[in-house]
Amino acid sequence: MSTNNIQSMSTHKNSFSEKTFITWLFIVASSMLFIAFSSAYWVHKTDGMNNNAWLSFDLPIQFWISTVIVFISSVFMQFSFNAAKNDNVYKIPSLLTITLILALSFCVSQYLAWVEMKDMGLFFSNREPGEISASFVYVLSGVHLFHILGGIVLIIIALVKSTRLEIHKKSMVFINICKTYWHFLGIVWIFLILFLYFAK
């Protein structure tokens, strides 16, 4: 390999890595998906034809608990990232494990919220015209949960990497992707819960 190549590789490490860029573009794409669904929700709600029939209901308590869980999990994800940045490599696995447990409990909490909605008589399929609002809540939270599953896979890979001491000060790309994506999912959830609360 020529010296030119080696030099460019070393400068490359400090620049905005391609993998990070790919993550951001993926975030743009999935933001468009959530924008599409929430716009559809808004159009449906404000549609003159269905206005009278729109069913407003209080969100299940579990959704608010989910919000707290996803917030704390983001904090722990940030701690893991900081630990890697400060080269506290032995702290990373434990912090990531806590993040993972919180992520899994977010999934459980979402499931319980759906059960709660079912008990309120709000199903995915609607029988009354207005109950379409409930269908939307299922779709928005379900698509978000699907994204969370992807995030959990990333956290597990990061956890395995961290136990092999492959995440440290000089090898931050993967944990950075994990952190960026996980924070994105947290922000999306907070957006969704506020949107559903104020636009119910």
Binding site: M1, S2, N4, N5, S8, M9, T11, H12, S15, F16, E18, K19, F21, I22, L25, F26, V28, A29, S30, M32, L33, I35, A36, F37, A40, V43, H44, D47, M49, N50, A53, F124, S125, N126, R127, E128, P129, G130, E131, I132, S135, F136, V139, V143
Partner: protein
């Protein structure tokens, strides 16, 4: 433009896995599978895209010929129908449901599989790394996944021809409720499910590919390749990928809601429907117009996803073969950006007659008509580039000029259709069919042919036969106009699109001769494509060997060896010293000036020396006196003392 070096990032050679091998001139042994099937090399993936696209194109064109036969001779029987389609062509008569299926799948194949994946997938993959000076894509693995998702999607779509109820048949837009109720028509059953699965796989493929294109263009350009030195092809591919990234997820959303309506009992798009024999359905509260909004939010940018790569390719081909710099490089880039931006706010012009608020319709009309401005900028720049050029009529060049012609004649009718009031008459008529087949169908396929003929030597190391190419061009060009031009008049007379048979309706019966004429012309176009297929595949194996830079072009892809190697350049990646269109410079002996040629201290752009007359220096006065006396000159009509 000054010669500012904007090297946005220091990433000169990307550390993709190719660099790990070190010696690029070494040929490492690759198994058949890793070389030809699960290849991660962008050049191989581009060939895979192209050949899959051509095969899908054959299916798409074949279907159009079948339904054109039905339209021209509705009362005849053709044993061909029965032998090809079995129970759908019983007794040689095409089944009406199957007619709808053919129209639907023809549209889907042409829009997504040929002109999105086949065009943008092929040439983005081939040209982005080669023209920006990168060893491969940012993520070669994702690139491979992108192709295989596309392949899987094609297989799923074509497999819908093998199911008992036939393929999706509610039009390429698959509007609910036809597409949402499994019992609405035969094709609404399993066929539509397969269609939706195919499109979701396609979206995944388009996103994986598009993300790669954006990262590669922005992050992996070689030294000296600033954004204002990018070939226009790359600008077009970059903006196309951005459009795809922003619009395809919305189609995914629309498709998911449709799947929920079909299979999970929701009613996002369904309301108060009585189905014959089934009675009232339980679905209520939904709105089919919601689907149209979501669909066309993708659907309109999709038109530019199809067209912009073709425009970028023709910019490059026209500049090279006119041996002139492209006229108004910056204007070309700005017009591409303008078209990209506008494409997101005009979707409502597909929905003028859905009962939309007339005020909203007017807004959509204005922004639609504004698209004429960047489109005209591009058209005039093509013509100005051709003007007084030293034109070389290569086959690629003829197709690129053909694109300009079709873009003008198809684009003009867009101004009619963009008017909310005129659209009441023209909507869903053959006028629309004529418009979009010229401006985006034929124009984009001409761009694709231009690209194939121009870059064939780069892809396969062989030249295509020029005589056959010329014949292919003229037959295709003539048949495109013969097929689509008469449709304008049918549309103006109110003939609706997607009808199975016109001979039973007296006011449309008078167009039967025109329908026969169109069908015969379409067969002429079909024969022309056979010439192309023969030329294409024959040249791969028996074509004349290509030289390194057969068109004497400036861009970086022609500096790579004819035989493809992993990592593209045997040594270091070339450095770029100037823009891509420096042709026929008076200060150079040869009429082209490759981007990687350091030259002998010539400026980046040639400026003709301006003759300055030093013998005359004008009158000398104090500025204040000039200022005040100027009013005296103005109001008192004082004579100028020269």
């Amino acid at each position: 433009m000054s010669t500012v070096e904007i090297t946005a990032n220091p990433t000169i050679d990307s550390p993709t896995h190719h660099d790990e091998h070190g010696h690029h001139d070494h040929h490492h042994k690759q198994s058949f599978i890793s070389k030809y099937i699960f290849s991660t090399d962008h050049k191989m993936i581009s060939k895979q895209y192209l050949i899959t696209g051509i095969i899908m194109g054959c299916f798409g064109m074949g279907m159009s010929l079948l339904f054109r036969m039905q339209l021209a001779w509705p009362d005849e029987t053709f044993p061909l129908f029965e032998s090809l389609l079995g129970k759908w062509g019983k007794g040689g008569k095409l089944d009406p449901n199957y007619y709808m299926a053919l129209v639907t799948i023809h549209g889907t194949i042409m829009v997504f599989y040929v002109l999105t994946a086949g065009l943008s997938g092929t040439f983005s993959n081939l040209l982005i790394p080669l023209q920006v000076g990168a060893r491969d894509m940012a993520s070669p693995f994702m690139n491979m996944l992108s192709y295989w998702f596309f392949f899987l999607s094609s297989v799923v779509l074509m497999s819908s021809f093998l199911v008992e109820t036939g393929p999706a048949s509610s039009g390429w837009t698959v509007y609910p409720p036809l597409s949402a109720l499994e019992k609405a028509m035969p094709g609404s059953g399993l066929g539509t499910t397969l269609w939706l699965v195919a499109i979701i796989l396609f979206i995944v493929s388009a996103l994986l590919g598009g993300i790669n294109y954006i990262v590669t263009v922005l992050n992996m350009r070689t030294k000296g390749m600033s954004m204002n030195r990018l070939p226009l092809t790359i600008w077009a591919f970059l903006l196309t990928a951005v459009l795809g990234l922003l619009s395809f997820p919305v189609l995914l959303g629309a498709g998911l809601l449709l799947i929920f309506d079909r299979s999970f009992g929701t009613s996002f798009y369904l309301s108060d429907i009585h189905l014959n024999g089934v009675g009232a359905l339980s679905n209520s509260g939904g709105s089919p117009v919601l689907y149209q909004h979501l669909f066309w939010f993708l659907g309109h940018p999709e038109v530019y996803i199809i067209l912009m790569p073709a425009l970028g390719i023709s910019s490059e081909v026209i500049s090279t073969n006119a041996r002139k710099p492209i006229f108004g490089y910056t204007a070309m880039v700005i017009s591409l950006i303008g078209i990209s931006f506008l494409s997101f706010i005009v979707w409502g012009h597909h929905m003028f007659i859905t009962g939309m608020n007339p005020f909203l319709g007017t807004m959509f009309m204005y922004v639609t008509l504004i698209i004429a401005v960047p489109s005209a900028v591009k058209t005039f720049n093509y013509l100005a580039t051709l003007w007084k050029g030293n034109i070389r009529f290569t086959t690629g060049m003829m197709f690129a000029i053909g694109l300009v012609s079709l873009f003008i004649s198809g684009g003009l009718t867009g101004i009619y259709l963009g008017n909310a009031a005129l659209d009441i008459q023209l909507h869903d008529s053959y006028f629309v069919v004529a418009h979009f087949h010229l401006v985006m169908g034929s124009a984009a396929i001409f761009g694709m042919f231009a690209g194939i003929y121009h870059w064939f030597p780069k892809m396969f190391g062989k030249m295509m036969n020029k005589t056959l190419g010329t014949l292919h061009f003229w037959l295709t060009f003539i048949s495109a106009y013969l097929v689509f031009f008469p449709m304008h008049f049918m549309g103006l007379a109110g003939v609706p699109r997607r009808y199975y048979q016109f001979s039973l309706i007296p006011e449309f019966d008078i167009w039967m001769d025109v329908n026969v004429f169109i069908t015969v012309s379409a067969f002429l176009g079909g024969v022309a494509q056979l010439l192309f297929l023969y030329n294409f595949f024959n040249s791969i194996f028996r074509g004349e060997k290509a030289t390194k830079n057969p068109w004497e072009s400036n861009t970086l892809e022609w500096t790579t060896p004819v035989e493809h190697i992993h990592g593209n350049w045997p040594g270091a990646i070339p450095t770029v010293y100037r823009g891509p269109h420096e042709y026929s410079r008076p200060d150079r002996e040869s009429d082209y000036f490759p981007q990687n040629d350091p030259g002998n201290g010539e400026p980046e752009h040639y400026h003709a020396p301006v003759p300055i007359d030093t013998s005359y220096s004008g009158p000398k006065e104090k500025p204040s006196k000039v200022f005040f006396s100027s009013f005296a000159h103005l109001f008192l009509a004082k004579k100028v003392q020269a």
